[in-house]
Amino acid sequence: MSRVMKFSLALLAAGVAAVALVWALNVRDESPLTGLTDLANRPAAAPNAEQIRRGEYLARAGNCAACHTARGGALYAGGKGIDTPFGTLFAGNLTPDPATGLGNWSADEFWRALHNGRGRDGRLLYPAFPYANYTKVNRSDADALYAFLQSLPAVRQAAPAHELRFPYNTQAALAVWRALYFRPGVHQNEATQSVAWNRGAYLVQGLGHCNACHAARNSWGASESGLGGGLIPMQGWYAPSLADTAQASVAHWELGEIVSLFKTGVARGASVSGPMSEVVRGSTQYLSDPDLRAMASYLKALPQQPPIRPKAVAAIPGQRLGADVYAQHCASCHGKQGHGEPGIYPALAGNRAVTLEPGVNVLRIILQGGFAPATEAHPRPFGMPPFAVALSDAEIAAVASHVRQQWGNTASPLTAFEVSRARGKRAD
């Protein structure tokens, strides 16, 4: 055999092996679909009211409606566009309409979507549906979710086709991505940890899919493990690290304060903002106190990273401008010394949302203002005005830098260029 022939054969063999490996990695931990092959053996368990109620609770825990409901549309009927760096995906219809929703899905097929990231037709699903998290959900919870979704009123509404660029729109690219970054597997309890910690881990890592925002993503869109903070793709908000005391770590908080933040959106004189506001409003405010305490115990115990400190803080140009803008527009609520007013206006001195690195969140808050979420426990939140129209980029940069460097705050200054970039972002 000639050398060329040998080389070609070896190359071919390597290619076949690679495809086989990607294939094998894509069908790991898949069980046969009993419902399809043997109808008689289909898990009978007729859904009962209790199971449906539990499914509704779990759907809240997963905040399914946040993506699977279009603005102003029917709950869970899908159609909302999710912008990603690879294109726009449209969330599916989860109501039991046979033509456009989950009406023809069996419990096995639903389980396979959650656990293996595979659609009813066998196609690989895009991980914007966070099945890398939902794979940790156990079968009994998946069945409850299924029972709940099947109990919804059917809505006939087909989701628009995804608008992804090549090659992200191919199954082959997805298969390679999954081979690299997706490992199916239900959450396993850690014997050395408490029951509450394990319950917390199950909720935070599974349905809660907290790391979808609170972890950086690599250039292929895969989330890093842990909750070390990350910029949320396309949204222009930074989800702070939950393992860094300079960011949003709660290691030093009382358990009750963490539960209160989840329940009401407010704690320690400050409130959630941006995308976390949607999480509290749509998800955590509905969770039971024991579940919230479990999540809090887990988050309190996260291994802590060394704090990310700003590089040397240089004296900034325009310091006087910052002080002037602050005196004119901010001091009447947040106070001359940035101390705020308890229960009404958050303090800015020592406020981690103000001093976060990167500083994009404080710019978004100044630009668009905002209300804390209206929750059952905190139904009439106060709102901060947007300053996008009243202040220029230079003025916003100056005042943001000012509050980041006063009253003991020592964060980096921000530039007008960063303000201009933050202006271009819209959440929805």
Binding site: S277, G369, F371, G383, P385, R426
Partner: protein, 209 residues
């Protein structure tokens, strides 16, 4: 309550009066049902304005209603209309449309729904006076293009689609140039029923059985 809604008054002016920048509409004293419907429209994607969309997104129906009622209850004087730059012909056409409509275009007059003095019909039809010309133009244009919608049936959408851009400009110019009458509050009934069926307007207010 005023302290809770400072987020609104930076743009809409102190206590919800129109700010002098020529775009943001006054919200003080508008009918509560109208304001509430608009807050829902922004939250649910029937109207679009980035800052409004984001502000109302985390709020509940109950709280939005309370905010609407707060601003509706304000009774503040109106400033005189700013000087306009409309031609006499444009103002004549605008006045014709507002007071008499256009039978050939099958357009009702503004006064048939918004009240004889154009101060609105409680609780859901807004007054049309005291608003900036650019805001009126912007809203009619948005309705015409489908960017702004109301609860179905969207009667204003149908009207704006039937209007030419010149007619929109004319009626906006004329409306923006009119002073408020002494009784500036919305009326509670019309002499004859509304000529159209409008979503978000209670049946009783339309004057129908």
């Amino acid at each position: 309550m005023a302290q809770r809604v400072q987020a609104c008054t930076t743009c809409h002016g102190k206590q919800g009066r129109a700010a002098p920048d020529g775009y943001y509409p006054r919200i003080a004293g508008k009918p509560a049902g109208y304001l509430y419907n608009q807050l829902l429209n922004f939250r649910d994607g029937r109207r679009h304005y980035g800052l409004m969309d984001e502000l109302v997104a985390p709020l509940s129906d109950a709280y939005l209603r309370e905010i609407a009622e707060h601003f509706a209850a304000l009774d503040l004087p109106y400033a005189a209309p700013p000087p306009g730059n409309a031609s006499p012909a444009q103002l004549r056409r605008g006045q014709d449309l507002a007071l008499h409509g256009d039978a050939t275009l099958k357009l009702p007059a503004c006064v048939q729904c918004h009240g004889a003095k154009l101060t609105g019909l409680a609780p859901s039809v807004p007054g049309l006076l005291g608003l900036p010309r650019d805001y009126l133009n912007g809203q009619m244009g948005a309705w015409k293009s489908g960017q702004r919608r109301a609860h179905a049936p969207d009667c204003m959408g149908d009207i704006a689609k039937a209007l030419s851009l010149d007619d929109i400009a004319a009626v906006s110019q004329w409306l923006a140039a009119q002073p408020l009458p002494a009784a500036s509050k919305a009326v509670s009934e019309l002499p004859v029923p509304l000529p159209l069926s409008c979503g978000g307007v209670p049946q009783a207010a339309m004057g129908k059985p």
